[in-house]
Subunit: 346 residues, 2 copies
């Protein structure tokens, strides 16, 4: 197993990313090579004085970085020697099986699309985000890559999300739902109503429409939506969770009695924070591409980087891509037939 | 000031709604009449034995109820003697200035549209939800009435939301944003990009695109989106807030030390719960109609009902509707001109 880590573009500098990669390497005997991709002088400056002793770690120089301000597709054209492009090329050239980056999400997605390439049968790659709730997680896709989607895309996201949930997250029969504004079959907009119809015909554990109220109950494992809605939901959840932590902190420091209470109960807060903080859990697989491509949160620290590497290894080990190719190949003829018999024009 | 309260359709029965109405009456000398609309035998059974002594309270009988399972428009046609329809008629006939209901949101919206009627110049009425965050609240609209919207509708929502925020929520210059997936002008889908262009030309404190991350910071006062997105955002927030309370409860009861801590800090939790619990803050003005129409949360208890009545009175007192008519009349020619010069067909 060979992993390419784009060490540039994280909020805390490349040293944090490199240390996370080192932790991952130490804990995973299966890794045969780990490429640190980025500015080599920055990487060498961040390495311990004698370098890492682990011979599996290799530095791949890239002189440029796609920043958060860059427009992804433009940047891809102009910054050919950027770390994310070089990392994607390692996957494309068969030198790496998986790629992890903390950088510009659009840049990672564009690199996956134009440098790594989509697997056969998938019309649109997507970003799947794993969101924690009490007891487990659910996967939301697309989380922002495809602003405008067709029903077919949503149906393919459903297939890919189901594979990911089963193979990586260990759900034997992932419950798949289309995110809508009511659970009745008739609720939704043009896009979701037709996506609902398409998903119903597929070999999925499709539970129909789900609404916002269902997400944080243990009710659905795979939530399908277009990237506009998905991105808003994801960011709203991150924002609300942080706001509630901040309210809690404020209230708990109002007087001594509360402060003592907070001190005694601090482990409870720590557990929830660790569970719900996007900087900790943050990490999103890009699905539909020829390698395992992962976006870690820009503010990820060492442990979160190591955890992203571990998840990428799981995806490769469980042959997520191969399974996606097979299941999409089975789904596409069903989808084509359903579209041909569609009551409304596509 | 005359208020119609649809006492049917709440989760806790009409007694709770009636008691909330009584509390409102007691605290508001300005109310000259308060109509309890619903099944009169149920109302009389719920009233204290001697009835309320307040002569301002009147019972208006309605033999039917639009339930949560009813399809709004059908129900409106079939259940002509339903409590929400009778309450809406009181407003339409000039006998009441405001209407509060805890029932089926679609039923309330349909009654507002077909029985109360829209004010001049407004193409679509909408549901505006007030969502709390630390320190204050923001208003999100449309929260679910209009699944498919045109850019013009979003621009009119912006005007109406701005009026509501200023007149009822006391923001002198409400910051208005279009909910999108990035703050740059170029980010969004077809609908929001054009809505952005239209809003920019209006006499609003328009701050451009806002994303999910901005909602719970004190960054925007009026968040504009279509009803599909708005409903998902609203329900996702409610669901996440409740999930976090439930995680907190679970963690705080894990051992004696935490339990003692939780006991000492209990006022902190209570404050946040009171602030963030949809059953407490829940309540949504329907904007663009000839009366002040309010949807309270189905699970609202006495205080929440009283608070909904109080907010409805504020809306009437501050002439929200008259101001909406004036500001929409100023906005519409600007919107028409902007649409005529649109780079893309509407």
């Amino acid at each position: 197993m060979r992993i390419a880590v784009d060490v540039m573009g994280g909020d805390h500098g490349c040293g944090v990313v490199i240390e996370g990669a080192r932790m991952a390497l130490e804990n995973n005997k299966k890794i045969s090579a780990l490429y640190l991709v980025g500015d080599q002088s920055a990487i060498h400056a961040a390495l311990p004085k004698r370098g890492f002793r682990d011979h599996r770690m290799k530095v791949v120089h890239a002189s440029e970085v796609i920043t958060m301000e860059d427009k992804p597709v433009n940047a891809l054209r102009k910054k050919r020697d950027s770390s994310i492009v070089r990392a994607a090329e390692l996957v494309h050239d068969g030198k790496a099986d998986a790629l992890i980056s903390l950088g510009n999400t659009g840049g990672i997605f564009a690199s996956a699309t134009f440098k790594v390439g989509r697997v056969a049968g998938v019309d649109r790659g997507c970003i799947a985000t794993v969101i924690p709730r009490q007891g487990n997680e659910f996967v939301l896709l697309d989380a922002g890559a495809n602003v405008e989607c067709k029903p077919l895309h949503l149906a393919q996201f459903a297939v890919m999300g189901s594979v990911y949930s089963r193979e990586v997250m260990g759900r034997p029969k992932p419950r798949v739902g289309v995110l809508s504004i009511g659970t009745e079959d008739s609720k939704g907009n043009e896009l979701t109503l037709e996506a609902f119809r398409l998903c119903k015909g597929l070999d999925l554990n499709f539970i129909g429409n789900v609404e916002g109220h269902d997400l944080f109950k243990d009710h659905v494992d795979v939530v399908v939506c277009d990237g506009f809605v998905g991105n808003i939901v994801l960011k709203t959840c991150e924002s609300l969770a942080l706001a509630m932590f901040s309210m809690l902190k404020r209230e708990l420091t109002q007087n001594t009695k509360r402060q003592i209470g907070a001190y005694l109960a601090k482990e409870a807060f720590r557990t929830i924070r660790r569970r719900m903080d996007p900087e900790v859990y943050g990490g999103a697989p890009l699905l539909g591409f020829k390698g395992a491509v992962f976006k870690a949160h820009a503010s990820a620290r060492e442990k979160a980087v190591a955890s992203a590497v571990r998840v990428a290894i799981e995806a490769v080990k469980h042959q997520v891509n191969e399974t996606i190719v097979n299941e999409i190949a089975r789904a596409n003829p069903i989808l084509a037939a359903a579209q041909a018999s569609s009551p409304s024009p596509q």
